[in-house]
C-alpha cells in the first residue's frame, strides 16, 4: 500500500482499518438496523443507555469503506451524550469529524445517523417513560 494514494483521507482510512466500537452489546438497551436502498449498505447500532445518557455504543456494518468509517465515527461521537443531544445528532458531524467524504459517499454518514436514531427509537419504545421527558419530539419512524 502507498501512504499517499488511498481512496479516502487518512482519518477515514484509519477508521476503516481500525474501526472503533465494532461489535454488538450483550444487553443493549436499544438496537437499530437500517439499510440504504440506493447502494444496499446495512448498518446496525446498539446502545447502552443509563440515566438518560449513552454509556456505550457498538456498530456492525455491511457496506463500503466509508460506511464502516462513518459508523465507527458515529459511535465514537455519540458516547456520553444525553438522549436529547443524541436525537439532534446529524450526519454532518460525522462528515466533519472524518475530515470530509467524497460527494457520492455522503449517504454513508446519513445511514449512520439513521441507525443511531433507530436505536434511540427502539430504546424509547422499550422505555415509554423516557419519551415524556424528551425535549426533542420523537421523529416519525423511518
Amino acid at each position: 500500500m502507498s501512504e499517499t494514494y488511498t481512496l479516502y483521507n487518512s482519518i477515514v482510512m484509519d477508521h476503516f482499518m481500525h474501526p472503533r466500537n465494532m461489535g454488538d452489546l450483550k444487553d443493549a438497551d436499544g438496537v437499530g438496523e437500517v439499510g440504504a436502498a440506493a447502494c444496499g449498505d446495512i448498518m446496525k447500532i446498539s446502545l447502552k443507555i443509563k440515566d438518560g445518557k449513552i454509556e456505550d455504543a457498538r456498530f456492525k456494518t455491511f457496506g463500503c469503506g466509508s460506511a464502516i468509517a462513518s459508523s465507527s465515527m458515529a459511535t465514537e461521537l455519540i458516547k456520553g451524550r444525553s438522549i436529547d443531544e443524541a436525537m439532534n445528532f446529524t450526519n454532518q458531524e460525522v462528515v466533519d469529524a472524518l475530515g470530509g467524504l467524497p460527494p457520492v459517499k455522503i449517504h454513508c454518514s446519513v445511514l449512520a445517523e439513521e441507525a443511531l436514531k433507530a436505536a434511540l427509537e427502539d430504546y424509547i419504545r422499550k422505555h415509554p417513560e423516557t419519551a415524556s421527558k424528551l425535549q426533542t419530539p420523537m421523529p416519525a419512524a423511518a
Binding site: F16, G35, G40
Partner: protein, 421 residues
Amino acid sequence: MRHVYLDHQAATPLLPEAFEAMKPFFTEWFGNPSSLHEHGLRVREALKHSREQMAALIHAGSPDEIFFTSDGTESANLAIKGVAYANERRGKHLVVCATEHPSVINSVEFLEKQGWTCTRVGVDAEGHLRLQELRDAITPQTVLVAVHHVNHDIGTIQPVAEVGRICSEKGVPLYVDCEASAGWLPIDVDAWGAALVSFSPHRFYGPKGVGVLYRNKKARLVSIIHGGVQEGGRRAGTENVPAIVGAGVAAEVARRDLEARIAHTRELQVRLWDGLEKHVGFIKLNGPRPGPDRISTNLNISTEFIEGEGQLLLCDLNGIAVASGSSCVSKSLKISHVLAAIGLDHALAQGNIIMTLGRDTSVEDVDYVVQTFARIVEKLRGMSPMWDEFQRGIIDSVIRPTGRGKSFSQHAADVSGKSAH
C-alpha cells in the same frame, strides 16, 4: 509486503520492447503523418507497419482494413454509429447482447434517442448469449448485430462463430467487441465472418491512447469524428504516432506469446479459484468454470455477507490490486448490468470482486492472494451484521441455503423500507 497486481482488465504495464520502439517517435521522428515531407513520410511508414501487425493479430485480409482510433470506447462508438449512419436508409434497427460493455450499450442508447430501435438479446446464468433469441431478433430492418467476444465482467466466451453464421445467413453485418479478448485469445475475423472488430492494445501490454477498428472492405462505415482525411477519411485528427507504433509491437508479441500466455494464466486461474473455494466459505464464481467457455485471465467472484468495496480496499492495503463490479464503471459504484443480466442475487452482486491475471503473475502471487483474501473476508464478516444474522438463523445463505431464515434481499428490504434491487 508482496505486491500483486490482479487488475489486468483495467490496465497493463507497457512492454519494454514496445516502449523502446516508441521512444524515437516522441522527440526525433515527431512528424505529422499528413505532411508530405520527410518527417511526415517517415511516420507514415511506421503507421503502415503497425497496421500490418494489427491485421496479423486478428487474421485480417489486408492492413487497409485496420483503422486507428483513440481507444476501445471510440472504436465501439465508431462501429455502432458509423454503421448505423451509413445504413440509415436501409433500416434503423440494431441487435446487441444485453451484456455488452457500456461503450456499446450507451452508443445504442444514443441512437435510440435519434430514432433507431434496438433489441437486447438476453443471456443465461453463465452469461452465454441466447442464440435462438438473437436469430429471432433480426428483422429486415436490422443493419447491425453487435456481440462481444469475451465479457469484460464475468469472462464468458460468446459463441461468436455461430453468431457469424446466423448473421451471414441473414445478410446482416456482425460487429464483435474484442476488447476483453484481444491478445489473450485467438481472433480470426474471416473465420467468424465479422464485418467489424474492435480492441485496444492497452489491454495486452500496449500503450494507452490508441484503439483499433477492423472493418471488412465490404461493410459500409461513415466517420463519427469529422475533420481532415486521416485514416482513409474514417477518423479525422492527428494520429497518435508513438502509441500506434508501440501498439504494433504489443500486437506482434501477443501473437507470438499467445499460447504461452493462455497456458500460464489458465494454470493460475485454476489454482486461484481452487484456493479461494477451499479457504473462503460461501463464495461463488460468476460466469463459466475455468475451461473452454471462460477466458483464462478472469475470475469474477461473489463473497456472501460482505460488500465489495471493503474487500477491494483491504486487498489494496495488503498490496493486492483488484476491481469490483464492472471494472470500467466502478467509479459510479453501481452494480454491473452484467451481474443483473445473469440474474445474480442482489446479496451476491454486492460482494463482487474481479481478479484478472497477467503474464507476470506468479504461483506465489496466487498463493499469497488466497491466504490474504481469506483473512480479509474473515475480518469483514466479523464486522457484518448479515454474517451474524446468518449464524443466528435470521437470514439464509444464497450459496449454501440452510432453509432457516429469510433471504438477504428480504431482510435488506425490511430494514431499508424499500426493495433492495
